[in-house]
Assembly symmetry: C2
Homo-oligomer: 337 residues x 2
């Protein structure tokens, strides 16, 4: 079996760390791993499959000996270095927002639209975390019942903001227990003991960019701009795993039993739904797991064809690192690399 030379850009960040861990855990066919990061981190060591590997600087020339580079170093770094990496012969799987809505770049969730990988031109975009878990759960239902409208409210973890977000919640919680004032640096407001309806920047239409990502990326990946999406994105004091309250309206009649049966067979999905046992997916339980978990599946009592559900996934794994690695795996499987 062919092995690949893989780079991880942003190797010391929250998602980069998970990318390395995911590559290790999934027996990805690796000839060589190359952790890349900012100059300040040059020479720092990471451990991969029992070997210590030195972090190199992500810059021109660094991609010449690589087949694949997983990028998670922010939009600016991606905009600058992804074309460089591609020009140096490397396939880029980019976790930032830089290329997601670029019509020349496929945006892919392997369970949802693997076929879009066929037209890649060396750069492939990894979708936003909130969109990934929503569509992994909704695509199989869309295939059967044709979703016309989605109303979604998110309950998003601070790890979506990377290590600084996690550190801010941690430090605010510690300050609270010590009776000290809470320092606010990363978020516009205190995140401990709060719910902030503001993720990323606000757009002209009154929606946040995080919310509009859920609209636009859904249209791009389901190849249907007519699916109506109405999102509210909210940050809450959870460390890892985003939760989503999702309501769908479908063209065809939909029953809880059929929906559950379809979701139980759906790739990447685990149904956790037994109210008699207080069983439903919970953010605090699912850190480090790979599936999109669906519970509270119930008939929408307010429309004829509608369904509600509660969807939880680890935003750093399936919402970011794992989906990127799965894109690489799918490229291999489809002989596109």
């Amino acid at each position: 079996m062919k092995k690949y030379r893989v780079g991880v850009v942003g190797a010391l960040g929250a998602v980069g760390t998970e990318m390395l861990k995911t590559l290790e855990q999934r027996d990805f066919p690796i000839e060589k791993i190359k952790p890349l990061d900012i100059p300040e981190n040059e020479g720092k060591m990471i451990v991969f499959r029992g070997e210590r590997v030195s972090v190199e600087v992500a810059r021109e020339g660094a991609f010449k000996d690589l087949d694949i580079a997983l990028f998670s170093a922010g939009e600016a770094a991606s905009l600058k270095l992804s074309p460089v990496a591609a020009a140096e012969g490397c396939i880029v799987i980019d976790n930032s927002n830089a290329f997601r809505m670029n019509p020349a770049v496929p945006l892919v969730i392997p369970e949802v639209n693997p076929e879009d990988l066929k037209w890649h031109k060396k750069i492939i975009a990894n979708p936003n975390c909130s969109t990934i878990q929503m569509l992994v759960a909704l695509k199989p239902l869309h295939d059967h019942f044709t979703i016309r409208r989605i109303v979604v409210s998110t309950y998003q973890a601070v790890s979506g903001t990377g290590i600084p977000g996690m550190a801010e919640l941690e430090s605010q919680v510690r300050a609270y227990t010590e009776g000290k004032p809470l320092d606010v640096k990363v978020y516009p407001h205190q995140i401990a003991f709060n719910a902030i309806p503001h993720i990323d920047v606000f757009m002209e239409n009154g929606y946040s960019r995080e919310e509009m990502k859920m609209v636009n990326e859904t249209h791009k990946m389901l190849h249907d701009d007519s699916i109506a999406v109405c999102p509210t994105a909210v940050r809450i004091p959870v460390v890892r795993c985003h939760s989503e309250a999702i309501n769908i309206e479908t063209e065809k009649p939909i029953s809880v039993e059929e929906a559950r049966e379809i979701l139980e067979k759906a790739p990447g999905v685990k149904v956790m739904d037994d109210l008699s046992k207080n069983l439903y997916p919970l953010a605090a339980d699912l850190a480090g797991t790979d599936y999109v978990y669906v519970g509270r599946i119930r008939k929408d009592i307010s429309v004829e064809n509608g369904l509600n559900m509660w969807v939880v996934a680890d935003n750093l794994r399936k919402g970011a690192a794992l989906n990127a690695v799965q894109i690489a795996e799918t490229l291999i499987k489809m002989n596109l690399i």
Copy 2:
């Protein structure tokens, strides 16, 4: 001006404490205050308007010298003692779920349906906290645009479970910072760093009772069972103030500008909505306040006539104690007592 003899049942609980504080702060015309609680708390002292008052036992006979009793001692106590209090000549304003859907009992938010107080038979029900803040914000919009459907996701504070809920979050957060295991007693799962889509018990239709309260109480107070309500109720690690992501569909066309103008004039509502200043209502800022705060007012981009908003209120004040006191004030104003 006539003064009243007022009892507070459950005087040492989270809501009872707020009821006393609210009565004190609002210059309610009080001749005598009588804190009532379980036998274990007999003789404990509270301070009201600078005087120490001894807690008496809530039991038969305790209501004979009272004009009004505000109950917040749980459903069982209300079912047992409200009829007793009423028989002893006292008007009961009950904060529990015991009588809310009883067709012989008015369920009232003074800003929404004060006219229902006219047919009271000595017992008046105070609505569920989540419903109160939702309808204070929606009633003025309903009057203008006729709401046909509401999709709502809640972000509810632990004080909704009273003092034990607040103590549980506090102790779990302390245990976390000390690296100790988290004790789970009050909620079915850990509440610190989590989002639990389970408030009150689950019903046969897959909805929680908290969710169905939002459906049924909306129908009762707006006198219209045809308004479709689709709720998801979620507990998050916030101490005080519930937040709600509310989506409405209206019969008539609705614009952000009109909606905002109407809400700015609406009784009990404060609009906090200036994205350029990161201004929107936040649970952590609004504890102890009396209004229903509305922000993130934006066009629903997924239907023709629709609007989204983010609604926050103190669940112990407007969601419970304050609304009960306002009911009493409205009874006085309408000469119904």
